[in-house]
């Protein structure tokens, strides 16, 4: 069906406007981070960082403990997401492929677990961790972050597991694979895109978590990057250059990870689903 000229122009025009709207805040963050201060604090915005500078990044990175906190963040996030993927995959497999007593109840438990008010539970968590003498340690953080992302991970993976045709597994077993081999050689590779897509959510959540680490790990060297980012804002007051540089550094790993994983995730997801 031929579309009229207007019918061809408006979708593209809308798309351009939308794309600008979605990119602009991200662009403005990097733009501000690279501009010298007199170009930031000005009545007329400077749209391109023509006099680019790294001074704000230097300020941000030279804040005390930056590298330690970055290391902590990476450790806690990777461990929490890795563990939750592993645990959730087992559970998702059971819920998607097996019938057993209590299945509905368990399913409901995880759906409701997504609603947990973590921000307010910090006090009870603080008391538990304090009584276990584990304050200022990365271990409790890892465990609780893992659980923050576990319900979503499990429920999402369950959908991905259900999408893998059972016949594939069965034919692998007819061809002489054990159940375990059928899983690792046939099912698991098909689940890889799903695991990647799901892990994104976990990475973002754990990377961003703020209230819990604020309460549990008061020792400056045991914090994570969100603490650094927030301290920064109050420390420098209206120093938007340094704040934006810090925000850029904070956002960059996730942005890169996302651009890398997301294509595989959405692509794999759809192609896998259609041919089921």
């Amino acid at each position: 069906m031929k579309r009229s000229l207007a019918g061809r122009i408006w979708p593209n025009a809308t798309a351009v406007v939308l794309a600008i709207g979605f990119v602009f805040p991200v662009y403005w963050m990097f733009n501000t981070a690279f501009k010298p201060t007199q170009d930031i604090i000005t009545e007329d915005p400077v749209w391109f960082p023509l006099h680019g500078t790294f001074e704000h990044f230097a300020t941000a990175v030279n804040a005390p403990n930056f590298w330690t906190l970055a290391g902590n963040s990476v450790i806690v996030t990777v461990l929490a997401v890795g563990l939750s993927l592993l645990i959730a995959l087992c559970g998702a497999f059971a819920i998607a492929r097996m019938r057993f007593k209590g299945r509905k109840g368990i399913l409901l438990t995880f759906m409701v677990a997504q609603m947990a008010p973590w921000e307010v539970m910090v006090i009870s968590i603080y008391m538990i961790v304090r009584d276990a003498d584990m304050l200022n340690s990365l271990l409790p953080l890892t465990c609780f972050y893992m659980l923050m992302v576990l319900p979503f991970t499990l429920l999402t993976l369950r959908g991905y597991v259900a999408a893998v045709p059972k016949e594939l597994e069965e034919s692998a077993m007819v061809d002489g694979c054990t159940r375990r081999q059928a899983f690792t050689k046939v099912v698991f590779p098909l689940l890889a895109p799903g695991l990647m897509a799901t892990s994104l959510f976990g990475f973002i959540t754990a990377w961003n978590e703020f209230p819990l680490v604020l309460v549990l790990n008061k020792e400056p060297a045991m914090g994570t990057l969100p603490l650094w980012l927030s301290q920064f804002q109050s420390q420098f007051g209206d120093d938007w250059g340094a704040t934006m540089a810090a925000a850029s550094i904070f956002a960059l790993p996730i942005l890169v990870l996302f651009l890398f994983l997301q294509r595989k995730a959405v692509g794999g997801l759809t192609s896998g689903a259609v041919k089921g």
Partner: protein, 350 residues
């Protein structure tokens, strides 16, 4: 790792169960609740009698997840529930004192006008945001499907960038965009002729603060809905569209008679998630203005945090947080019930 035996005939007839309870819909064979786009793999009946060891398998597989949940969520929750019956302030916390207060905290909260006002505000706030996110997200998703390849890639990339921005970084950036003196937004509005906006203080009033928060949340949430909706539409068989067009259906009719029924499970699951995410939005609201001005933009999570952690009435905070869960459960009850019903149906089909 043990692998399944027998889930037999479940889902042999993908069309039957899914649409589930309420208004019956024609088809949607697409998968199950927290599903991202379409999974529907018709299963052949392959029933075997489970061996005793296989009967234990699902429990063993679920054991780590359940244990972790009990330990790291159940325990703090139980502790939180206990706290909600206590008079727990800084003194009690430091000296490890336990001062039971019965249902005093709950009576105080339920009797306060403030709580009900915040609850109402939270429900409206969640509703407005979720409707905006779903409607705009679906429109952008459909737009993606209509674009040429290059343009689609460009818009997708933009969406992914926004989606990937960590909440805290994004919140900081929005504070800067909306900054009253040097913020770029006020400058643009001024240039466009709206001169009273030149140094407008966005966090000065309740409505404008909510506006900033809503723009931030919608901006962050749209990519998830749009990209997943687009991916989901690609799983709809082309013949359905062709048939609808042949019958002379317009764009709106095609959406209501093909796209929507087919993707209904997707819409339900996404709405459910968005309700939870918006309702629980914490850093966005807190960082923009800490629930201000004059506590007028506090939603339930912020209210619980301010009362509990901020004002050091930990018992009160715990009680509010439990009431918060009740409100959220009420808001999502429809979907939870629907899911349980569908599962029941599936199991009955065995």
């Amino acid at each position: 790792m043990a692998v399944q035996l027998d889930d037999g005939a479940e889902r042999t007839a993908p069309g039957t169960g899914k649409g589930g309870a309420p208004p019956e819909n024609g088809a949607p064979p697409a998968g199950r609740p927290p599903r991202l786009p379409g999974r529907r793999a018709p299963r052949l009946p392959a029933r075997r009698t489970p061996l005793p060891s296989a009967r234990r398998a699902p429990y063993l597989l679920l054991l780590p997840a359940l244990l972790a949940t009990a330990l790291f969520l159940g325990w703090p929750m139980a502790r939180n529930a206990l706290l909600s019956f206590q008079n727990l302030n800084m003194k009690e916390l430091i000296q490890h004192l336990t001062d039971w207060r019965g249902t005093g905290n709950y009576q105080e909260i339920l009797g306060s006008e403030q709580f009900w006002r915040v609850t109402f505000r939270t429900v409206v706030f969640t509703g407005v945001n979720v409707v905006l996110i779903m409607v705009l997200g679906v429109l952008i998703g459909l737009l993606l499907a209509r674009l040429g390849k290059k343009m689609r890639l460009a818009l997708s990339a933009a969406l992914v960038l926004a989606w990937a921005m960590p909440v805290i970084a994004a919140t900081t950036v929005f504070q800067w965009l909306f900054d009253s003196r040097y913020g770029v937004l006020n400058w643009v509005l001024d240039r466009l002729g709206w001169h009273s906006m030149a140094h407008y203080d966005w966090v000065g009033t309740q409505l404008s603060t909510f506006f900033v928060i809503t723009v931030l949340i919608v901006w962050q949430s749209l990519p998830f809905v749009a990209l997943n909706l687009y991916a989901a539409t690609t799983t709809i068989p082309k013949e359905l569209y062709e048939a609808a067009r042949m019958d002379g259906a317009g764009t709106w009719k095609v959406f209501t008679s093909v796209t929507f029924p087919f993707l209904k499970p997707f819409f339900l699951a996404t709405t459910f998630l968005e309700v939870i995410w918006v309702f629980k939005a914490f850093p966005q609201i807190f960082a923009i203005n800490e629930g201000g001005p004059e506590r007028l933009t506090e939603t339930l999570p912020i209210y619980a945090f301010t009362e509990g952690v901020g004002n050091l009435h930990f018992g009160m905070g715990a009680a509010i947080s439990l009431l918060t869960i009740v409100v959220l459960l009420a808001m999502t009850a429809y979907y939870l019930r629907l899911t349980v019903k569908q599962e029941q149906q599936e199991e009955n089909e065995l």
